[in-house]
Symmetry: C2
């Protein structure tokens, strides 16, 4: 079933309003959530909407958070998200980072007491309009095993960096620190297909091609897949994200990160509040004049576009190209939701008295 | 042949003094260079000393640089390294970042007009004594092919993050953004052995196990190895490092990064000055009290140490553990240099009138 982005945004906004959110918060949440569908990250878009509602029903998500700064310096702050949706909390944190960067050159905000923030790329890209470089990270429920470990202690912990250019579109990095997105395993599992080795391990830490392995005690693998190919580096990156998002902010880290799904109860012990994010911005002209920077970014991008592709590939891509292509296509043709997602949204709409 | 770290430091210091460096710069350069040998990163240690000298002989390295700030804001600066050795320039840049963090909460310094800076970990770790988190990146001569590309447009472009803890040792990340270090290929090549697939590609972009492939037009691969296992993420990370080190600072980026080896002439065209670095520091108590942070870092580290290891592995490591073990061992037993390295240093000592 095909919907326009604006239909899905309106629906999402109305659901948040039914939960009691302010009009402004509901609009932000809808924009962030649907930006994932527009960028082709279907696992983080409207398909997750009823997940947020179920958390709210269990009082694990606050629809009317009072987001506030609890500590700050000229270029840093810590924000308490008041258990709000990360969709709402993270953009507020990012706005603070941008404000700090305006006067101090850079701004950094660690967030505690939040929930899932959608795609990291939305938040980092907020900096672009201000001629700033944006940065966003978040930790997430543990699914990933460190190198040599059977224990799942890390989330898919993404890193996003958004860098403005001049005539070229911005360069946007938005990557989980695993070898592959969890969504790819789910797709193969639904089709009853196997997956390549190097995406996950079984409960004993052995290689596997079983796409359903996470349900059988398996774990996702850090970027690099195995020690020989550098999985310890993916483990390092994921650790960095976890520590910045939670140890710096006062949120839960490692095995204590609360699950995003409402049907799994959070463990009773905690080492902080909610999940954590870390966002920031560097003002480009805190380093060199923005025009000069953009001129060289254009040159960088044009140069890399001219790299000679390997046989069988048409071209070399720039970080952000694939998502931009999907956005253009989906703005034109609409967003085709899978039947189970449509049914889920229909049921949600009926329950909340909102029409899709 | 076994040397103590202090013998190698003295030798290196004296070589720099013979090039005309100040006593202080020579001491810094020696300390940074030998820290690589102590941490087991032999490819970046004293084995590279004569490389720096050869660059100096060709007037591509200035032994008496006047490192200066050319632009700044409360939390950022750009530094011109005056074509000095990165070994000397980067610690000065890091000292500026630390100073800025003291007042602004965080400090960021982009460096242009520099040369190879040794191991990234030395520079990030400078922040630890100040209860700060350190950050360091550098670009490097192009050896790495972006995903889907035959062209070698990126260096091994490392990222380092050093995070202080309390009773536990600090967590230190120091990683090239490739699937493997170039040094590993060199070792296998010397032994006439093949290497695993996923470390490099041949001149047409095909998988290869030939450890000598770089001499035959091949390229190293970004972390992730191939598109299926996330090499586009390694490519993203490497791009980030290149842009921050050079586009932000005004140094050379991508294919324009000058070669570190003196026998390859730099290309005549340039898009900036020398190679670039990007370093920074966040003050821990710009986010939460240092004691509280360290308590949770200890808990994080102790928790991850207790992860259940996979069959056949003794334990799960924390980023920084392997290097720390090697340092302890080499401080005790000395540093065993390969015969060709010893001969090279002997010849260098004779030429420069310095005794090893």
């Amino acid at each position: 079933m095909i919907y326009t982005a604006s239909q899905l945004e309106t629906f999402t906004r109305n659901i948040f309003i039914k939960m009691g959110s302010t009009a402004q918060d509901a609009e932000t949440a809808a924009k962030v959530l649907i930006s994932a569908d527009l960028r082709g990250v279907d696992s983080h878009g409207v398909a997750r909407l009823s997940g947020y509602v179920r958390l709210w029903e269990k009082e694990r998500l606050n629809a009317t958070p009072q987001v506030k700064i609890i500590h700050e310096t000229p270029s840093t702050a810590v924000v308490d998200g008041d258990l709000g949706a990360g969709l709402v909390v993270a953009p507020k944190a990012m706005a603070i980072a941008i404000e700090k960067a305006r006067t101090a050159g850079s701004g950094w905000v660690a967030v505690q007491n939040s929930n899932h923030f959608g795609i990291a790329g939305y938040h980092s890209m907020m900096a672009l309009d201000h001629d700033m470089i944006g940065f966003a990270m978040t930790n997430a429920s543990p699914l990933v095993a460190p190198t040599f470990s059977k224990s799942k202690f890390l989330g898919t912990n993404p890193i996003s960096v958004a860098i403005p250019a001049g005539n070229q579109p911005p360069l946007v990095i938005d990557m989980a620190t695993t070898s592959v997105a969890n969504g790819k395993l789910e797709v193969l599992q639904r089709k009853n297909m196997s997956m390549p080795e190097g995406w996950a391990q079984d409960e004993n830490g052995n290689p596997t091609t079983d796409a359903a392995i996470l349900k059988k005690g398996g774990a996702m693998l850090p970027l690099g897949s195995d020690r020989t190919h550098g999985s310890h580096k993916g483990y390092c990156l994921s650790s960095w994200v976890d520590i910045f998002s939670a140890v710096l902010s006062g949120a839960n880290y490692g095995p204590w990160v609360p699950p995003f799904v409402a049907y799994i109860d959070p463990i009773s012990e905690s080492v902080g509040k909610g999940i954590g994010h870390f966002v920031g911005a560097w003002r480009v002209d805190a380093f060199r004049p923005a025009d000069e920077f953009k001129h060289h970014m254009d040159n960088w991008i044009e140069t890399f576009r001219k790299a000679v592709p390997v046989d069988g590939e048409e071209k070399v891509l720039i970080p952000g190209d694939p998502e931009r292509e999907i956005t253009a296509q989906r703005l034109k043709d609409g967003i085709d939701l899978l039947q189970p997602v449509v049914e889920d949204l229909m049921a949600l709409g009926q329950k909340m008295g909102v029409e899709l």
